[in-house]
């Protein structure tokens, strides 16, 4: 592979150069060219430039170990595979087209439609075609459903294949998909193989930027080099054993966390219950005191790192004993009342055996326990158990703490030492959104999910990940912060052109001598890494969707830090109708108008001798570049959907 080595060497040389030139520029910017008299804009600008340099650095790290894998060996016979087709509300025809294609996959397997909509018509169609049909079991009623992750976990509990192929409802697989992928699992450490997502309803111009040739290419291959190829939710083959193993580990972790948090609040709950129920009777007060002591002991045991199963078991036995003291007191007073009735009426009491051990135990059991009448105490006792009664199934192999279950699950697999593979060959073809609204909803969800994982399980702090893996996860998260940077990049030239506010000490020769080589080498790196793939749309959208990225960051932060709802949007697979949705891109339209006004104003100011010529021309060029980038969003709003053309590229190259 001589050619590959050369390419890799070139990428490394360019990465090194980019970093050196970038640091050279940034150091000079920070030390010598911040215009402190306009610090309110100069400092934000130098900060976002630093942000961008770190982004370049992370891209360089990704490219550093780009891995192009050879085809794996043919798989052994006799592996058991389940093919899961996840659906919620997609049209039946679309689901069945995928399901029938899946049933034609050559390697022996079972095909299942995972219908989260529980639609009888889908069930009938599946049964008629002889395809398995799975919908949520009754345990999920009145419990968190966890969207797609819940759907998959439900199916995992209902099936038992060694491997599972996950396909979104629109992803039509090739018959050879399993034959091509299963061989990767000859390496027993491999947990996951991801293939590209490629869309057949997109033409060459790809106005909505649906194809992701840079991601399903150099970026995934680069991540693969660090054993950090991402799981992207569909078109992936997974080893069940790996998924179950991390599911169980996370279950234990989750129980421990819940138990720890509950015990922390235990004293307060008991104290309040005692105050509120002081009048009910001494026996209740005493029982609550017993529970309080049990909470203390459990806390101590947990601190001593005793197994959480033993801690909760001991706790529950003590709670049962406390409940039994209340029941015994109740039965004693019933007995006394019956004695009185007997004396009054001369009736013989048939209830000598009232206070037997069996009766007391039954009446004190958790479902009938009198202590359960005190809501907060009941909830506390319930939480201090290992069966996770608040969830439909205790072990959730697919992570449920993010709306992008794929990334969170993948990170767990990696942190437990499993390996992932990126297989660069299109083996399933799907449908991309055909309108701006759907596209924005989808990008928002990806970004929100990524930021949720970032805030909940920061990859830089996760145990078990290698440094490279940490950087690969962090890189993706870092890139979603670009919305904030975009605002500064848009505002800075407007301020200069309209008001002459200078964000740098001077647009001098020094400035250009440091900036331009960096920009050129960086673009060259990007060009070489992309290897002729069309990456321009991706570059446009990373700036043009800046309001989406900002919204994703703020909503994810509000969700993780303050428990606000994020909402889970299922991306519609069919086009949403109506006129051009200008309201969706109002911030971009305002930015475009402001940039045009600024360019004209700047030129006028220069012509009448107010604006400095060098700075004006640089900023007008900057504005022009921004406008070219942003223009894509207008074309996207006007996009009328996909019409197939004859010269459509049908081969499997990306």
């Amino acid at each position: 592979m001589r050619r590959f080595f050369d390419h890799q060497l070139l990428v490394r040389v360019l990465t090194t150069l980019t970093i050196i030139l970038g640091v050279n520029y940034m150091v000079w910017r920070w030390l010598f060219s911040v215009n402190w008299s306009n610090a309110w804009i100069s400092v934000p600008l130098v900060l976002v430039e630093t942000y961008s340099l770190i982004d370049c650095f992370l891209f360089g790290v990704t490219m550093w170990r780009l891995r192009e894998r050879p085809a794996p060996p043919a798989p052994p016979e006799g592996l058991s595979v389940d093919v899961f087709i996840t659906t919620y509300n997609e049209p039946i025809d679309l689901v069945m087209t995928t399901a029938l294609a899946a049933s034609r996959i050559r390697y022996p397997h079972n095909t299942w439609i995972l219908d989260d909509g529980g639609r009888p018509a889908v069930q009938q169609a599946a049964e008629k075609a002889g395809i398995g049909y799975i919908t949520r079991s009754s345990e999920w009623e009145n419990r968190p459903r966890h969207a797609k992750a819940g759907n998959l976990n439900n199916a995992l509990a209902a099936t038992h294949g060694q491997f599972l192929l996950i396909l979104d409802a629109d992803q039509i697989p090739e018959p050879e998909i399993l034959d091509r992928l299963l061989g990767h699992f000859n390496n027993e450490k491999v947990a996951l193989v991801q293939t590209p997502q490629w869309f057949y309803n997109v033409n060459d111009t790809d106005i909505l930027g649906s194809q992701a040739p840079l991601f399903y290419g150099p970026i995934q291959q680069g991540k693969d080099g660090w054993n950090a190829a991402f799981f992207c939710g569909s078109n992936a083959l997974i080893r069940r054993e790996a998924l179950m193993q991390v599911g169980i580990t996370w279950y234990v972790h989750g129980v421990r966390t819940t138990v720890g948090q509950t015990l922390k609040g235990g004293d307060r709950i008991i104290a309040r219950a005692r105050a509120e129920h002081a009048a009910t009777g001494q026996h209740v007060t005493r029982a609550l005191e017993d529970v309080r002591l049990a909470v203390r002991t459990a806390r101590k045991e947990l601190r001593e790192d005793r197994p959480v199963g033993a801690v909760t078991y001991n706790f529950q036995r003590k709670v049962d004993a406390a409940a039994q003291t209340i029941v015994t007191a109740d039965l004693k007073s019933i007995h006394a009342d019956l004695d009185e009735i007997q004396q009054l009426t001369g009736l013989t009491s048939p209830t000598e055996a009232l206070i037997t051990r069996d009766v007391v135990e039954r009446l004190a059991r958790r479902d009938w326990s009198p202590m359960a009448a005190i809501g907060p105490v009941r909830r506390m006792i319930r939480a201090l158990d290992v069966d996770r009664a608040d969830e439909a199934i205790p072990v959730m192999p697919m992570a449920t703490n993010s709306v992008t279950e794929d990334m969170a699950t993948c990170m767990r697999l990696h942190s437990h030492g499993w390996e992932s593979v990126y297989h660069h060959e299109i083996l399933a073809k799907g449908l991309a959104p055909e309108d701006l609204k759907t596209m924005i909803t989808q990008r928002l969800r990806w970004a929100q999910g990524t930021m949720q994982v970032f805030l909940r399980e920061n990859p830089l702090l996760q145990k078990g990940l290698s440094a490279g893996q940490r950087l690969m996860y962090f890189s993706t998260m870092w890139s979603y912060l670009s919305g904030f940077a975009a605002v500064v990049y848009l505002v800075a030239p407007i301020l200069f052109l309209c008001f002459g506010v200078l964000p740098v000490a001077a647009f001098s020769l020094d400035f250009f001598a440091r900036l331009i080589p960096f920009l050129v080498v960086n673009q060259l790196l990007f060009f070489v890494a992309a290897r002729g793939r069309k990456t321009w749309r991706g570059q446009q959208y990373s700036l043009a969707l800046f309001p989406v990225w900002i919204k994703a960051c703020t909503t994810a932060a509000a969700n993780v830090l303050f428990g606000r709802s994020l909402g889970f949007a299922v991306t519609p697979k069919t086009r949403q109708d109506g006129g051009p949705p200008w309201f969706l891109i109002r911030p971009q339209l305002i930015a475009i108008a402001a940039l045009i006004v600024a360019a004209v104003t700047g030129l006028v100011r220069m012509l009448i001798g107010v604006g400095a010529p060098a700075g004006t021309l640089v900023n007008v060029a900057w504005v022009a570049y921004d406008l070219v980038i942003l223009s894509v969003i207008i074309r996207a709003a006007l996009y009328k959907g996909f019409t197939p053309t004859d010269d459509r590229d049908e081969n499997n190259e990306i």
Binding site: V327, I334, L344, T345, T351, P370
Partner: protein, 110 residues
């Protein structure tokens, strides 16, 4: 927990309740029965349990306490239409032989 009292004849009353008859609501039932029997002078009380879906040992104690109060005043307390869980508890404690469950409220007056 909500109680509804319907007066019946000269010396009777029907208590209708819904929800859970437990540690929290039992004291209310005790007060209510005492009030009807001793305050209003109606020693014959029927407790309609149709809307009660759960009883615990303290709730059971309140029913027996009501029975004692009614008997002491020369009357009786009878229960009508208990649900499955209440029947199980009554059987478990053998109290169904003293607080015999009736199928209708009318039957309690026979």
């Amino acid at each position: 927990m909500k109680f509804d009292v319907e007066l019946s004849g000269e010396d009777s009353a029907v208590i209708r309740a819904n929800g859970r008859l437990n540690l929290m609501s039992a004291p209310d039932l005790k007060h209510l029965v005492t009030g009807i029997v001793q305050g209003d002078g109606r020693p014959n009380v029927v407790v309609d349990l149709a809307e009660i879906d759960f009883v615990d040992s303290t709730g059971l104690g309140a029913l027996v306490f009501g029975l004692k109060t009614a008997r002491a005043a020369g009357g009786d307390l009878r229960i009508a239409r208990p649900g499955k869980q209440i029947k199980m508890v009554l059987q478990l404690t053998s109290l169904d032989r003293i607080l015999e469950p009736h199928d209708t409220v009318e039957e309690c007056f026979e």
